[in-house]
Symmetry: C2
Subunit: 255 residues, 2 copies
């Protein structure tokens, strides 16, 4: 007898297996099928039963990734054929994760769904690198923006971002760093602190810190690439590596 | 012999005990002392050893809460006297949690520190209530803002918020709902969807949904109070309860 079909979206967190929630780990432990993305740490699959199906639906070098409608359909097919499906996504499923599209499609097929939030890289990756996303006196808000919209461009929201006091976090934006730098420079914010963290929370973490005017140089020097989190704003200056960098460039702090 | 002093900041998540990370639960399991806030689910204390000290440092009815410098000092004193201290905060410690002030003070006292991020209520509470913080075509960014700044006022950032397409999340702002409504109305956004979720992710969850022009009425009707998460923007319209409310007010959707 096939179990009642059900799909649970689970946020896998920023990378470190132990940053998964207890609830997410328990869901994996009951899964008949796990569908997972490229940004998910594969060690998490060991939480799922040995005889469960594990299906990779992300993009790998030299191969096309599955399109969203194909993933939606596969999720539903798996639930109908095997029962309990865990859909595992990096970070949190609703932070630019297209998770709600999967929920909508499954619901339209009368399949029960559940959401288990994850620790979002947008907050946790800067934190683990020593940068608090908010700090009294330095920021009263933070703004999280995608570097890659449907059209492949950076979101227009970044033009407004650059005019605020908010801490700004850009996800999926490291390949657009030249464009981001230009936008901030046009606002006269070339000396604003900025940090970029690649593979945050994992042993492969890479880090660059500086100001808008100098960060491209550091990205090249440290060979930073996706996946990375960019954090921009005064809170970056709290990092112990910031002051020496500032001194080495002989900047005068405008504030 | 006293153990090596160490302080770990652990984000407890939005309320549901099982939304704690595996890493956070393991840290609690080794704690000699746990210092916890009012917004932390006390069931989490059962993860700590039975003979560990559990110290409440939050605000309770009729009692003053401890001031931040007192908490900083207590953390350090506990680490020096007992060894391993877990500092447990609601949501994530760096999202308006003053967590970095505690790290800074402990570091200045030469005490080792560690940060274990938590699931932030800002993202998870709307998600668990059925509202994705981002959705293709509706939002390319989200902005999280505190309703209560150092001065007790709402952050000025909300004036910029009201001019953007971003999903806006206000934490600690339900007591300022009249002020928030006024700011959006002045921008001509009286019909923007808004939802308020009190005690999100727990069995005591309360919910209000509508548009800017109608939400105050609903807050009164449903007796919503702190702690609550406010979410404002087009993504709120994805909630199944939104369409009937919109119809009942006979609004014409401007989009």
């Amino acid at each position: 007898m096939i179990k009642e079909p059900k799909i649970t979206l689970v946020g896998a967190g920023p990378g470190d297996v132990n940053l998964m929630s207890i609830k997410g780990a328990k869901a994996l432990g009951k899964a008949d099928v796990v569908l997972y993305d490229a940004l998910v740490n594969e060690e998490l699959l060991s939480f799922a039963p040995e005889n469960s199906l594990k299906i990779f639906v992300g993009k790998r070098a030299g191969q096309h990734s599955m399109k969203q409608p194909e993933i939606n359909q596969l999720l539903v097919d798996c639930a109908l054929s095997y029962g309990y499906v865990v859909r595992l996504k990096g970070g949190d499923s609703f932070v630019f994760g297209r998770g709600f599209e999967e929920i909508e499609f499954a619901t339209s097929c009368n399949i029960e769904t559940e959401v288990i939030p994850g620790i979002s890289s947008s907050i946790a990756v800067p934190a683990l690198a020593g940068i608090p996303i908010t700090h009294r006196g330095l920021s009263e808000s933070f703004w999280v923006i995608t570097g890659t919209t449907t059209s492949g461009k950076i979101s227009n929201d970044i033009y407004v971002d650059a005019k605020t006091q908010a801490t700004v976090v850009v996800l999926m934006g490291v390949n657009k760093i030249a464009e981001i730098v230009k936008i901030y420079q046009e606002e006269g914010l070339g000396r604003l602190p900025i940090a970029i963290i690649q593979n945050g929370s994992t042993p492969d973490e890479k880090f660059a810190i500086g100001v808008i005017n100098t960060i491209e140089e550091q990205v090249l020097e440290n060979k930073l690439a996706a996946p990375a989190v960019i954090v921009i704003g005064a809170v970056v200056s709290l990092h112990p590596l910031f002051q020496p960098i500032l001194n080495s460039y002989e900047f005068v702090d405008a504030e």
